[in-house]
């Protein structure tokens, strides 16, 4: 197993009854790089995500996560919350899932639940007000404040998350995922519904997460301007199988990819390409 890959997906298959959503999909995500998973609607991208983050149990195949220290975790064997807790994989959702009735700061505090639980002696020490817990809580607030600054929401820290504008909610959800201090950050369409300026800010944020913190990112995205700008590697899916992968430039010129997006045959796509160039 190569050390520069954080995630290795091997022959992943997911069936729902008779429907095969993902078939024999193999790809890997490089450490400290941004890997994008793209494809037309219904290609099975979110299914792959749900398998990686433990919301679905794959019908077949393996998903291996290799941490910086060489520790390898078999994600297909862990279920739901353990993937976030033990394997350090954090995710966001296509339809934003914040805690709308809690403030932005509280959202980020909930993300640090496991660390704070240990610090509070599983509630008992915290209940009697042990100083160790108070320090841990202060550190948690500092981390949350730091993230609020990064996503430019510091002045709204005490506002309910449900009151935030759509773009702000998207950024807050990324900040919340990052507060779990993940090794791999999975983003499900982070740029959906954002305007051009917000998309640009998002690209900047993701690049800073990669460059400054060294967190590996796996993202699903439809906004090609974002994908082409920030991705180091792109995997293209259609109808549950991988049809291409490579650098943004390679993928952009791949006839299979264009055919899939146009919903046409490969020959037609090639004809379109030639005609256009």
């Amino acid at each position: 197993m190569s050390g520069d890959k954080i995630l290795n997906v091997d022959r992943l298959t997911m069936r729902f009854g008779g429907i095969v959503a993902v078939q024999d999909l193999s790809f890997s995500a490089a450490r400290k790089k941004i890997t994008a998973l793209i494809g037309p609607n219904g290609a099975g991208k979110t299914t792959v995500f749900n398998c990686i983050t433990g919301f679905y149990k794959p019908s077949g195949g393996t998903i291996r996560l290799t941490h910086d220290d060489g520790r390898t975790v078999a994600l297909e064997r862990l279920n739901d919350f353990r993937i976030a807790k033990q394997a350090k994989v954090a995710r966001t959702f296509q339809n934003i899932r914040l805690f709308p009735g809690m403030t932005a700061l509280e959202n980020l505090m909930v993300a640090q639940h496991n660390a704070l639980m240990r610090a509070s002696g599983f509630t008992f020490l915290g209940l009697v007000g042990a100083p160790g817990y108070r320090d841990a809580e202060k550190r948690a607030i500092d981390l949350a404040t730091d993230w609020l600054k990064r996503v430019n929401l510091l002045d709204r820290a005490d506002d309910a998350a449900g009151n935030f504008a759509y773009g702000d909610q998207r950024r807050l959800e990324i900040a919340r995922a990052m507060c779990t201090e993940p090794a791999l950050l999975c983003l499900d369409e982070p740029a959906a519904g954002l305007n051009a300026r917000e998309s640009a800010a998002l690209s900047e944020l993701l690049l800073s997460i990669r460059d400054e913190l060294g967190t590996s990112i796996l993202l699903i995205e439809h906004d090609m301007s974002v994908v082409m700008e920030i991705s180091d590697h792109i995997v293209v899916m259609d109808h549950g199988v991988k049809i291409a992968e490579g650098t943004p430039r390679e993928v952009r010129d791949d006839t299979k990819v264009i055919a899939a997006y146009l919903g046409a045959d490969e020959e037609e796509a090639a004809a379109v390409m030639e005609g256009g160039s």
């Binding site: 993937i83 959702f93 509630t123 809580e137 005490d158 309910a160």
Partner: protein
Amino acid sequence: MKAPSTHTAKTATGIPALLKTAFINALVALVLFSLMVGIRTEAGASGQLTYWTRFGDLASLVAAVFGGSIVIELLRQWIGPIGAEKLVPPAVRSGMSFLGRFVAPALLIFTLLVPVIFYNQRYILDLAILVLTYVMLGWGLNVVVGLAGLLDLGYVAFYAVGAYSYGLLATNFGWSFWICLPLAGILAAFWGVLLGFPVLRLRGDYLAIVTLAFGEIIRLVIINWQDLTGGPNGVSGIPRPSFFGIPLDNSDDGLAAKLGIEYSPTHRIIFLFYLILALALLTNWATIRLRRLPIGRAWEALREDEVACRALGINTTTTKLTAFATGAMFGGFAGAFFATRQGFISPESFTFQESALVLAIVVLGGMGSQLGVALAALAMIGGFELFRSLEGYRMLVFGMAMVLIMIWRPRGLIGHRAPTVYLTKAQAISSDLVKEGHG
């Protein structure tokens, strides 16, 4: 109260609308009541139709509707949704919110002084103890329903477990109240976890039904397990609580004799009063404390979005179980108190009606709000006593009151949520944003 002149423009736009609403309401009342009240018909002596008019009554009814709708409209705008046009001058409103901050401390001081003020009024003391018992039950259930968002219709089961734990341990082994109290809490928490396990996967209506069934199962087991629980005859002769070993009675060892004061049966009542007050305040303190700990935040996060919780690595199973166990533990404490206060317990005290009443208190008070639950318990239990003279109409009055409150304040008396942590300023969160939980 006169509005400051700067606000007259704002008020003026509202007053015609207000009068218009009141006028329409009065008109509807006039049409309705003119036949129902205005003209009275009756069969005369020889079977002919006799009628007479009661325009005086009609006029007073219509006037009452007119005045009432103005008052209601003002109240509605006062406490109604944020952003609605306000007719009440801001000075009054800021004064009210200023007073609002002192409601809880004032209520606490008053409660502490109740035995002093009403020393010789046994009825009021008994009522106060009853209200406090329900305040405690409400606060206990609030952890499960208000914070974790798990609808529990069988809360009375834990109350029963607590009561029977104390009753049986005390009558069979002669253990003291102060040893049995924590045991009752632990046993109830244990049953809370037992209930929690099978219902973890259930949500909403399904969860409610299973918890409802659980409450009934506990009651039926108590009725049918005659060897242990005495069945429908209940457990009698449950010892009264002692003041840390010193009995509160007429004997030479009694507290009165030791303190050298004259014995009075009121001492015991006052002791019970402060006991339940202490237990209720313990519940309140623990809940407020827990809310600010990671576990409490996880409960609230669970209410807001369970899937997101799992994505953040929160073990939703243990989080739900701890909520059930914590709520059940407080129910168990209250049950032990109930047993020692009554001296006799039977399955009749633990019917579904009790669960429904406690749940109504939590919902009416505003799910998650400690002060709201206390006020709702006071209103419900106190109100029940207040309207005792109405006999059969009592429930009717209560049903109407609940419907009205749910129309005006669909999220309970105190509907907003206070954040558990803040950077610069704690802002109340509007109830529109706070989720009720999925079950």
